[in-house]
């Protein structure tokens, strides 16, 4: 593998991590939104507070990681994507800001009225943000971003691939979140809540799976290069993802939550990797390859040093955080 490709892989690992970890945080918004009125929805919302509270900021940093790696390693493609996809990026950004701020505000709200206001902002922006991020992915993957930037502000992301990308992103996030929350609910001894979440997660999973299949036909016309890759080089990953998704559904159905979680992660991680492998060697499909877009060699090497350090420092710390949140002491419900 050449240096550029190694850096691109490191960048893309960030995309995968963000899709899985950040995605699950966004998806929680779906269950928050559909939890019902303030009394009926209370257990779900408390669970969501408890389950994403300690981790959402760390998970969010994956996005920063991706942006920084992108602009440092592949500067021109970054500028091209930013100027072309300004609208969905700004909308995603708006969602990210509203989601984070109102989540923190809601947790400390005094009255039910405040909690409802911030809660609905949190939930709606959490559901919508992945749509815009997914549409950005669709734009990159279907060759909507010209190498020189300043592509069409609207059609670049309002096209079949982007719209399906967005819808699938929303569904995937919700599905992941559903699996995670169901597991958390069960581990916290909240059987009834787990049952409710399980039913809804199953529905979301089936709907998302169906959307993915429905997307294949329009994508074939709209994003031929991507489809070539997905059915060629990345076919194994796509199959793995389908398998993982199906396995998650079966495991959820049989209430094997602990096993459903890794299966869901596998499904999402492999579909995202599939996208990456599918559009290889392009960074902007049909416009700019990874090699062409790469910045200075010394900078790429420097980035790998940063990535290695991150692996050594962030890795263990993140592991410790996740282990704590999954431990017994952290699972009981009251917050301190």
């Amino acid at each position: 593998m050449s240096l550029e490709v190694v850096v691109a892989v490191a960048l893309f690992l960030g995309v995968i991590a963000y899709a899985v970890l950040g995605g699950a945080d966004f998806g929680a918004g779906f269950f928050d939104l559909t939890a019902g009125g303030s009394r009926r929805g209370a257990p779900t919302r408390t669970l969501i507070d408890h389950s994403i509270g300690p981790v959402w900021e760390a998970n969010h940093v994956w996005l920063i990681y991706v942006l920084v790696m992108w602009w440092t390693a592949f500067p021109t493609s970054f500028a091209a994507a930013m100027t072309t996809l300004m609208v969905p990026l700004l909308l995603a950004l708006l969602g990210i800001v509203l989601r984070g701020a109102s989540f923190a505000f809601r947790k400390n709200a005094e009255t039910m009225g405040q909690a409802r206001l911030f809660g609905s902002i949190f939930a709606v922006s959490s559901v919508l943000t992945p749509f815009f991020l997914g549409s950005v992915a669709g734009a990159l993957a279907s060759g909507r971003v010209p190498a020189g930037g300043n592509g069409d502000v609207w059609t670049s992301w309002l096209n079949p691939t982007s719209v399906f990308g967005g819808v699938i992103a929303v569904g995937t996030c919700a599905f992941l979140a559903g699996v995670f929350l169901t597991t958390d609910a069960e581990r916290g001894g909240r059987e009834r809540l787990a049952e409710q979440l399980r039913a809804r997660t199953l529905l979301v999973g089936i709907a998302t799976g169906a959307t993915v299949f429905a997307a294949l036909i329009p994508l074939n016309l709209d994003a031929p290069t991507l489809i070539d890759g997905l059915t060629g080089r990345a076919a194994a990953l796509m199959a793995l993802s389908a398998l993982g998704g199906a396995a998650t559904l079966v495991l959820l159905w049989r209430r094997r939550y602990a096993a459903a979680r890794p299966a869901a992660v596998l499904a999402v991680a492999s579909v995202v990797s599939g996208w990456g492998l599918g559009q290889y060697p392009w960074i902007l499909v049909d416009e700019l390859t990874i090699k062409e877009a790469a910045g200075a060699t010394a900078t790429l090497q420097g980035l790998l040093v940063a990535v290695a350090l991150a692996g050594a420092i962030v890795g263990p710390a993140l592991f410790y955080l996740f282990r704590l949140t999954q431990s017994k002491e952290w699972t009981h419900q009251e917050d301190h």
Partner: protein, 472 residues
């Protein structure tokens, strides 16, 4: 130096084109989002160490008041860090959205420090989660240590961001040959010569902002007659941090300013409101503006300008007359911002010195209402000084985004004046976040005063029992 060579090479390229319509809104947008974020960033940088000291005191001396304060501060920091994190994300996007010319051209030159900053932020976010949710769940002696990594990452993160800003002021680590950027040395950017002094100044500024702001909250409480130990301790610990910072800041700032005349003569001329070069030593001009080429309303102190900025009794400050008009920054804004920063900094230093002097003489001014009033506004003043410092640095560098190498017009995107819509929306968004944060923080304080400990969420199932008081 390399940079000045580049400056000669490129300075006349884009000089005469009129500003594109999208430039002014882009600059306002950046100023708003950066100016807002930097306040929260200060809390991310400086609050952890202050919380650590309080928490440690609580554990060491078995001091319930201190523990209580640390716990409350942790909850406050959770709110502040959340909006700090999302407003920082805005900046990452805006770098590309608003300044594609900069990022597309120099992304691989200036990117490495950002990568390390991202790393620092990662560690910070992780330990924030661990610390906040670790109360009562991790053994206390280990738990208190979880806040320390955040103080360290605050240093690293600040350094990295300021390294980029210092690079924009004094670009190095690359070469321009026939318009092509070559010979890129990212480590040289990360460790550029100007980075450390800019970092030191900003890092100390963060402690001033946070120390004075937190102390000010308790000063207000004391003004309203709440003079219990809780308030006195809550005041003095952050006030000590602020004191140390306020006393060293003028020196750090002075060191930062040394050599500015060589680095960025136009900026220095603007700082000093030097319209023309004087024969012999320049005065220090306090206040004043330039209208139609004439200095109005300034108070001149002879010699002092040369002494402070040139370290000399004779060498004048080179005036704007030595600088081509197209390379001059907006002089009045730069001058007033710079002097507000220095003025406030000097005042705050004197004020804390008076406090400790009186205390040493046996009078604790905490009992004095005027002192408390002053302490209450010291936080906002420090914020103003910090914002003014950024305005001085950034506006004073104009018309360059990368000094001598790239003009801000070249960096801006190809947008029309419709970018003002984005700016308008951002004003609403940031206004909303400010109001939201104010409502929430005030209501937290109110409930704490009313004796509620844990602040359960209103929809929480345990609300009824938990609000009866401390359970643990």
């Amino acid at each position: 130096m390399l940079a000045s060579g580049i400056a000669l090479h490129l300075s006349d390229v884009a000089a005469s084109a009129p500003d594109p319509a999208g430039l002014l809104p882009a600059r306002n947008q950046m100023a708003l989002s950066l100016g807002w974020h930097i306040i929260l960033a200060c809390f991310g940088v400086a609050f952890p160490a202050i919380i650590f000291v309080m928490h440690l005191r609580g554990i060491r001396k078995n001091d319930q008041v201190a523990l209580d304060l640390a716990k409350k501060w942790a909850k406050v920091s959770a709110v502040l860090f959340a909006i700090g994190a999302v407003s920082g994300t805005v900046l990452s996007f805006e770098m590309g959205l608003l300044w594609p010319g900069l990022m597309g051209t120099y992304g691989d030159v200036l990117g490495l420090p950002f990568a390390f900053e991202g790393l620092a932020f990662f560690v910070e976010a992780i330990f924030l989660g661990i610390y906040l949710y670790g109360w009562g769940r991790i053994p206390p002696k280990r738990h208190v240590l979880m806040v320390l990594p955040m103080a360290v990452t605050g240093i690293i993160g600040t350094y990295c961001v300021l390294a980029v800003n210092a690079w924009m002021n004094v670009p190095t680590g690359f070469n321009v040959i026939d318009g092509e950027i070559t010979d890129i040395q990212p480590w040289k950017v990360l460790f550029n010569a100007h980075a450390f002094s800019q970092f030191a100044h900003m890092w100390v500024a963060a402690y001033m902002v946070v120390g004075f702001s937190i102390a000010g909250v308790y000063a207000v409480g004391m003004l309203r007659g709440r003079r219990d130990r809780h308030h006195r301790l809550g005041f003095i610990v952050p006030f000590i941090f602020a004191t140390i910072a306020a006393v060293i800041q003028p020196f750090v700032g002075h060191l930062l300013g040394l050599g500015l005349g060589e680095r960025q003569p136009a900026k220095l001329a603007a700082f000093e409101l030097a319209e023309t070069t004087t024969d012999g030593p320049s005065p220090l001009r306090l206040g004043g503006v330039i209208i139609d080429g004439e200095v109005k309303g300034a108070l001149d102190i002879p010699y002092l300008g040369s002494i402070i900025s040139q370290n000399s009794l004779t060498k004048p400050v080179p005036g704007l007359d030595t600088i081509p008009i197209e390379d001059q920054p907006p002089i009045n804004l730069t001058h007033l911002a710079f002097q507000s920063m220095v003025g406030i900094g000097t005042m705050l230093m004197l004020a804390v010195l008076v406090y400790w002097f009186m205390r040493w003489r046996g009078t604790d001014l905490i009992g004095n209402r005027w002192f408390l009033r002053g302490a209450a506004i010291a936080g906002p003043l420090a914020v103003v000084a910090m914002e003014a410092g950024w305005i001085a640095t950034e506006v004073g560098r104009q018309p360059w985004i990368v000094y001598g190498v790239m003009r801000t017009t070249e960096a801006a995107g190809d947008y029309t004046s419709s970018l003002w819509l984005l700016y308008g929306a951002s004003v609403v968004l940031y206004g909303g976040m400010t109001i939201g944060a104010a409502i929430i923080l005030r209501s937290m304080a109110r409930r704490w005063r009313a004796g509620e400990g844990d602040l359960p969420s209103p929809y929480g199932p345990k609300r009824a029992t938990a609000s009866k008081g401390e359970q643990r």
